[in-house]
């Protein structure tokens, strides 16, 4: 696909600005009515979902040149998909996020590169991770857990930790706890250790599609060699990449892909995890974009007029993972869950996605701060989520804000309730 393949999508924008707001049915206050971090921070219409399509169409029509302003518009966006959800409440024929993705790929192919993204891509090429950390240290997080090494032995479940959980030492306890929980439930788990590579999703989102293809080939080969029937990841970014971007690019993993919240939900419902200990916390749950609205599975390419596309083929966000994390939280005794105003497919983004954390950290921090304020408005003492990127963003925002709110990975609360002691 190229940007030109989306010309009709762009021409179809009615400039209604729904993309700037949560779906109208769900506006609950003045304060939390907005949906898009980009337009909310930068204000010029060009930074909205609609505006990005207008700019892309203007490029195609030869009205403007591809320049740094266009790149600024294209990349000051977390690609969170909130605009897409609000647009698709009313429209079947516009793929807003795909237009943004195509615009970014055009920037890359035309050499309009963002230095911070080049560093990230270079890191990926050298060390197979987005941080430039040594590849040899990728599996260090799992030391002492006694996990199988799928490079040399088979396992039912391949656990893909992802770059953030592999290298962010502040989050290490969370990922180790989640694996101990699964082991305790009797799961046969293996990891690829230092051979695990980045999923490539971040490269794809910033316009370097070929990079993701390289990683996809690598991941597919490793999954097949492992003999696993299920791939479980605690990272929402990786999950979305495996569920959507890989099959869209023609890479089939050939196994069931589950986010850890889906897997735990099964284990709880199968009574393999018993949530028996009280967790006396008042929490609110943040839907990670890549697990929620962007976590929908790929349903195949729609050929032809999108106006004729049935609803079941529209990527409108509603089939993401929303209920399982909530079911788990509700099953934890003593825990009180209060919802924020913007939830599920119209959730506000943590700010970390789409290459923003790397290139525009001020936007990432601003977006996370906005979410922490919303979480605080519920009266909750902690924000729970299911993605290491969101957790990192919130921890940093809370520190910057001088707030007291705690940040939990959902698996931590399950671990507490299951009575599995911390390290």
């Amino acid at each position: 696909m190229t940007l030109d393949d989306y010309r009709l999508d762009m021409m179809g924008c009615s400039r209604c600005s729904m993309c700037k707001w949560v779906p109208l049915n769900q506006v609950k206050s003045w304060r939390y009515a907005r949906s898009c971090p980009s337009i909310s921070k930068y204000n010029f219409h060009a930074y909205s979902g609609s505006g990005k399509m207008n700019v892309a169409l203007s490029l195609l029509d030869g009205r403007i040149e591809l320049d740094e302003t266009v790149a600024d518009i294209a990349y000051k966006c977390t690609l969170c998909g909130a605009c897409d959800v609000s647009c698709k409440v009313y429209r079947d024929d516009i793929e807003l996020c795909e237009v943004i993705e195509e615009l970014r790929e055009l920037c890359v192919t035309e050499g309009l590169l963002i230095p911070e993204h080049m560093i990230m891509i270079d890191s990926m090429k050298k060390e197979d991770n987005v941080f430039g950390e040594p590849k040899s240290e990728r599996g260090n997080w799992a030391e002492g857990l006694g996990l199988k090494d799928v490079n040399s032995e088979s396992a039912d479940v391949l656990f893909h930790a992802g770059c953030r959980f592999s290298y962010d030492e502040d989050l290490r306890g969370k990922v180790r706890g989640s694996v101990r929980l699964l082991l305790d439930a009797g799961a046969d788990i293996g990891i690829a250790g230092k051979e695990e590579s980045c999923c490539g999703g971040r490269a794809y989102e910033v316009g370097y599609r070929g990079e993701m293809d390289n990683y996809a080939d690598d991941v597919v080969a490793r999954v097949k060699a492992s003999g696993a029937t299920v791939l479980v990841t605690p990272c929402s970014d990786c999950y979305s990449t495996f569920k959507y971007f890989y099959p869209r690019a023609g890479h089939e993993l050939g196994v069931e892909v589950l986010h850890i919240t889906e897997y735990i939900d099964r284990l709880v419902k199968d009574r393999r995890i018993a949530l028996s200990h009280d967790v006396p916390l008042h929490v609110t749950y943040h839907d990670p974009c890549h697990l929620g609205r962007r976590g929908e599975p790929y349903l195949g390419k729609w050929e032809g007029d999108k106006l004729l596309r049935p609803l079941s083929r529209k990527r409108a966000g509603r089939n993401g993972i929303f209920d399982q994390p909530r079911d788990i939280l509700k099953a934890i005794p003593g825990l009180k869950l209060s919802e924020m105003e913007r939830v599920r497919e119209y959730s506000w983004c943590c700010g970390a996605g789409g290459g923003v954390l790397e290139a525009h950290p001020d936007l990432a921090l601003w977006s996370a701060t906005e979410r922490i304020r919303e979480a605080g408005a519920t009266g909750a003492e902690a924000i729970v989520t299911a993605c290491p990127w969101c957790e990192r963003s919130f921890i940093d925002a809370i520190s910057e804000m001088g707030e007291e709110m705690a940040v939990y990975d959902l698996t931590e609360l399950v671990t507490m309730s299951a009575g599995i002691g911390g390290e």
Partner: protein, 512 residues
């Protein structure tokens, strides 16, 4: 002309992050495919875009423009070609940084808003205090300030709340030369509570019937009359639109009413108005509704003449919502409605869940109308306006014929040629109707339809003495010249006001 010096002067007012003349930024303001008769999506690219954050900044920007003879155009949410520049060299003033609700006065029942607070936000805050406001049919993503001060103002609650022009109380108005005028009680320092003083009362000049669409300066604040909301303070609603789930409160009822013909439908409207019942009354064209809700089904139906005939039998009707303050009030309103429907030989359908949930909340929140963009990507409005009920029915009859001709020629979607979108206002004082046609602007043949449709509608309206000048707004000078001589020379008077208040024609009025 917008020179570098003028740009720098404006930049010093708003800061460099709130002004731009980058082509990419500007072109996002030049894309305006909606509410225009001529084909295409682009309008004139503004010379710059500026984002003031306060009334003071707006004044300074307008004064700079006035001093340097630079045209400007302000918009709030910016939906529609009338929001953008109508010529070259215009500064776009985007008011989105002025987005606050300044005050909610519960006792005196008004809300004061800036230009970019949208209806859904304002409504959500008002409901928490037992209040509601009139929202225009374009939906709750629109600016209530714009609807009150500058553009039309028709919506579902017109029967109980009137149109937006009736809700205007105090106004803060930056005139075309940058001076600040405060209307109503605000003008005498007495607060926002009254539109007619003590202080200047110039609402007629400010907006006339349909508004100047930004042609008389910039409105930076308005107090809007609010109304009692007898529903829940914080409605619990699941779903985004078609999947809406909610408990409809016991003191609300949602009905669909159908009549055998235009005449008995009009009779019912008059009688409902006289009885002073109903919270919402809205006529939604049956064909357009099916297109919006189930476009795939409607594509099949258009090849089924018998089904089409059966559906079209429901064209003379409306959606009625009753909101009551007590069981007795509910009983009275429902009995009265039933009696009127019976005596006008109509059919009354008591809508049940889950459709009731959707009709109730999308009616109150005004969140479903935008689905009219679903089937073809856009729509256009021709014949229509605000007239006595009988007259709007007459418009609808002629409109039906015009539309059928366009359908037969394949220029627009087959929506059963059912007109009209609209509803009763102010307990029967007038009816609003819009003849909506759905088309695909990306189809080169259909893209030309609105222009021809607008002309056909205008010609018929004048020749048949139908009134209905409301949509001359989008037709430009020629359309006004056509309608004005048969409508009390309104355009002559409008131009006189414009020439007096803005002699240099700096506050750009796109379609004049």
């Amino acid at each position: 002309m917008m020179t570098d010096d003028v740009y720098r002067e404006m930049e010093s007012v708003v800061g460099e992050e709130n002004i731009s003349r980058e082509p990419a930024i500007l072109d996002s303001y030049a894309f305006q495919p909606f509410h225009r008769a001529e084909p295409g999506s682009w309008i004139h690219r503004p010379a710059a875009v500026v984002l003031p954050g306060s009334t003071g900044e707006v004044q300074q920007i307008v004064k700079i423009c006035h001093r340097n003879k630079v045209s400007y155009k302000a918009h709030s949410t910016g939906w529609g070609a009338h929001s953008g520049p109508g010529k070259e060299g215009v500064i776009q003033i985007d008011l989105r940084r002025m987005d606050r609700i300044l005050e909610i006065d519960e006792e005196n029942m008004y809300v004061v808003v800036e230009p970019y607070a949208i209806c859904a936000q304002v409504q959500a805050e008002l409901m928490k205090r037992g209040l509601n406001l009139h929202i225009i049919g374009a939906g709750s993503s629109t600016s209530p300030l714009a609807a009150c001060t500058s553009h039309m103002g028709m919506g579902f609650t017109g029967v109980s709340m009137g149109y937006s022009g009736r809700s205007v109380l105090g106004v803060e108005w930056v005139l075309p030369d940058g001076e600040l005028l405060r209307l109503g009680s605000l003008g005498s320092g007495s607060g926002w509570f009254c539109g007619d003083g003590p202080g200047p009362s110039l609402r007629g000049i400010m907006r006339g019937w349909a508004g100047y669409d930004g042609g008389l300066g910039v409105f930076t604040g308005v107090a809007i009359k609010t109304f009692h909301w007898p529903g829940p303070r914080e409605p619990e609603v699941e779903g985004l639109l078609f999947d809406t789930k909610t408990e409809v409160p016991d003191n609300f009822k949602v009905f669909l009413c159908y009549f055998p013909d235009y005449e008995r439908w009009a009779d019912a409207y008059y009688r409902i108005g006289e009885a002073e019942i109903a919270y919402i009354m809205s006529k939604n064209p049956i064909g357009a509704m099916i297109w919006a809700f189930t476009p795939h089904l409607m594509r099949k139906i258009t090849d089924m003449p018998a089904i089409k005939t059966a559906l079209k039998a429901a064209q003379h009707g409306c959606h009625v919502m009753i909101a009551a303050n007590s069981p007795g009030d509910l009983d009275y309103q429902v009995k009265t409605l039933k009696r009127i429907i019976e005596e006008t030989e109509g059919v009354l359908i008591d809508v049940k869940p889950p459709f009731e949930s959707m009709l109730w909340w999308s009616g109150v929140r005004v969140s479903a109308v935008q689905a009219i963009f679903r089937p073809g990507g856009t729509f256009f409005v021709g014949l229509g306006g605000d007239e006595a009920v009988d007259n709007t029915m007459l418009q609808a009859k002629f409109g039906e014929k015009i539309k059928q001709d366009f359908i037969d020629r394949g220029l627009i979607y087959d929506d059963l040629a059912d007109v009209m979108w609209g509803g009763l206002y102010e307990q029967g004082l007038f009816n609003h109707q819009e003849e909506i046609m759905i088309f695909n602007a990306r189809d080169p043949r259909q893209a030309k339809a609105p222009e021809e449709f607008a002309k056909a509608c205008a010609r018929t309206a004048v020749e048949e003495h139908l009134g209905g000048i409301g949509f001359a707004l989008f037709g430009g000078e020629k359309m006004h010249d056509l309608f004005s001589p048969v409508t009390s020379d309104y355009y002559k008077w409008e131009k006189k006001i414009k020439e007096t208040w803005d002699p240099d024609d700096l506050s750009n009025q796109t379609f004049r």
